[in-house]
Amino acid sequence: MTGKIGFILGNEAIVEGALVSGATFFAGYPITPSSEIAERASRRLPQVGGYYLQMEDEIASIAAIIGASIGGAKAFTATSGPGFSLMQENIGLAVMAEVPCVIINVQRSGPSTGLATKPAQADIMQARWGRHGDHSIIAISPSTVQECFDLIIFAFNVAETYRCPVLFMADATVGHLREGCVLRSKDEVEIINRKRPPEGLDEYYPYKADEDLVPPMATLGGHYLSRFHSSSHNEKGLPTSSPEEAKDLIKRLYDKIEKNKDKIVKYKTFDVDGSDYLLIAFGGAVRAARQAALDAKKRGLKVGVLQLQTVWPFPAEYVCELAKDKKGVVVPEMNMGQIIGEVRKAVPDAIPVVGANRYDGEPLAPYEIMKALDEVLSL
Amino acid sequence: MAIPEGEIMVVEGKKFRIEMRRDRCKGCEICVEFCPKKVFEADELGRPVPVRVDDCIGCGACELRCPDFAIEVKSKGVS
């Protein structure tokens, strides 16, 4: 498969990227518009000695990939809106027990069963806040089929590096998009595997973190006994109700992501230098945003685009830096306005921030972004 | 019979020795009820006292049934 160009679906590219990452375990429950991921995983994984498990529901699916990761595999699942809602509790488990795994949500219109076959980006706040309790989370969003492949590898890498779940927030416009995609081989990409404890320790403490705030993860059946715990626990992995230990744990879980933000945040810019206006988008909406910027150029406007490949943690400082000398910002999203709230928090109050939103199940179009840009121009 | 807290109480019988952990015992009286030789009696807190240790036949029922890991019966002469 070295460097082979495939004309494939975004959903298929996700599976190919996962395989290159070394993933050997998928558990899922079919749901539109993510099902092609399950279908391809079911064909490809057993070919490479891996496993595809079709579970009884999405709760079992996320549980099984957490188990598989504890067992030593790189594991992933894929779902869409309703299934993503069902997974939230155990995503919290992966956060608390520090289990690396990748959860793909090919977003569709909601709420509830909504428009099953139609795209949306309306789960991006759920990605951040869907679970109970304080914590940080990593969410990555692709806008092209090539990014489905490249960023899923990045998703596995950050999951392994920081021992945490990573949410891969695709949407139906990208998952069901076919494009040319360079299918890189293992030797052509950087693959990161979880940190293991050194041999010869007197005792292994499963939740004793190194300086990077990440505890090494022992291989089950190897040198050390290991413990994983969903409740507040100490370094030994034993439950504790001590306020100090509880605070230290919650703080570390939060900080290991927030303090490593510069390594986790990935973005792309298009014509931002010297531009007067800025479009900030993620996922499928980036395509419309870039087209709109190009159309605006024909009208003599200087419009740059910031693509958030990593949406969470939100790069507020960078957004502020980029936006501070602009005349206005437009945030195109296929929802009623979710990330725009983060943008508003980040940019100086004097700069107008306007949304370009679509939430009828149809993909956001460039002319709708142009309309929002016109609104900014009129301010 | 006063048995101290927090340490292993060893009661020697003719053939068997009963070791009891009062720090673990919660006084459920299972050993009192199910000892075939009625070796134990409950004190005022319901905790067992091996008052007839010489009657012990070493069947191990008390050890097996104790939910609290609080009783061990040992054959004398076996360390």
Binding site: F7, A116, T173, L177, R178, E179, R290, A365 | -
Partner: protein
């Protein structure tokens, strides 16, 4: 160069396959292609369409905004494309299964008996491949060799032979109605 092509029909006619084969052939020829699809809940019977954008440059928005060619294989699909904004767009509908007389269609629309021709060539189910040929005739940069290649990857044996024949007939048909810009 940039082309926006739509294949439309009802589920089960293979319009999405036609779109993906066209895109794949374009990519094999070193072009860029993006293919998207819209479909309803039923796998069979409901309105289905696929947009194929082919360009020698990066494709930003992957949906057809100003389509150059729309191929319509069923009446429910025609209803979607009665008011096409692009003056230069060509809309080819299957005149063997759609009675267009009740619609007030301008000169951008014309009928070809697609299913009937496919049937004559031995496979009514290959109307999508005939459509692929019609669309391919439109894009000079896609080679027949690569089109054959993508068919060879997809089909085997007798069906492959039939489809290769039908593809050629489609290209010929497309040329006959002078689709090339």
């Amino acid at each position: 160069m940039k082309y926006e092509i739509i294949f439309s029909g009802i589920g089960g006619q293979g319009v999405i396959l036609a779109g993906s084969l066209l895109g794949e052939a374009a990519v094999s020829c070193g072009l860029r292609a993006a293919q998207t699809q819209a479909y309803g809940v039923s796998a069979r019977g409901g309105f289905t369409k696929t947009d194929v954008i082919i360009s020698d440059d990066e494709i930003l928005y992957p949906y057809a905004l100003t389509p150059d060619l729309i191929i319509v294989l069923a009446e429910p699909a025609l209803l979607h494309y009665l008011n096409v904004s692009n003056d230069n767009c060509k809309v080819i509908y299957d005149s063997s299964i759609i009675d267009a007389s009740k619609y007030d269609l301008d000169k951008r629309y014309f009928g070809l008996p697609i299913v009937e021709i496919a049937k004559e060539l031995g496979s009514a189910r290959s109307a999508n491949i005939l459509s692929l040929g019609i669309a391919a005739s439109f894009i000079v940069d896609i080679s027949l060799e690569q089109l054959d290649n993508v068919l060879e990857k997809r089909f085997r044996g007798k069906i492959l032979g039939k489809n290769i024949e039908i593809l050629r007939k489609g290209i010929e048909l497309g040329k006959s109605v002078a689709l090339t810009r």
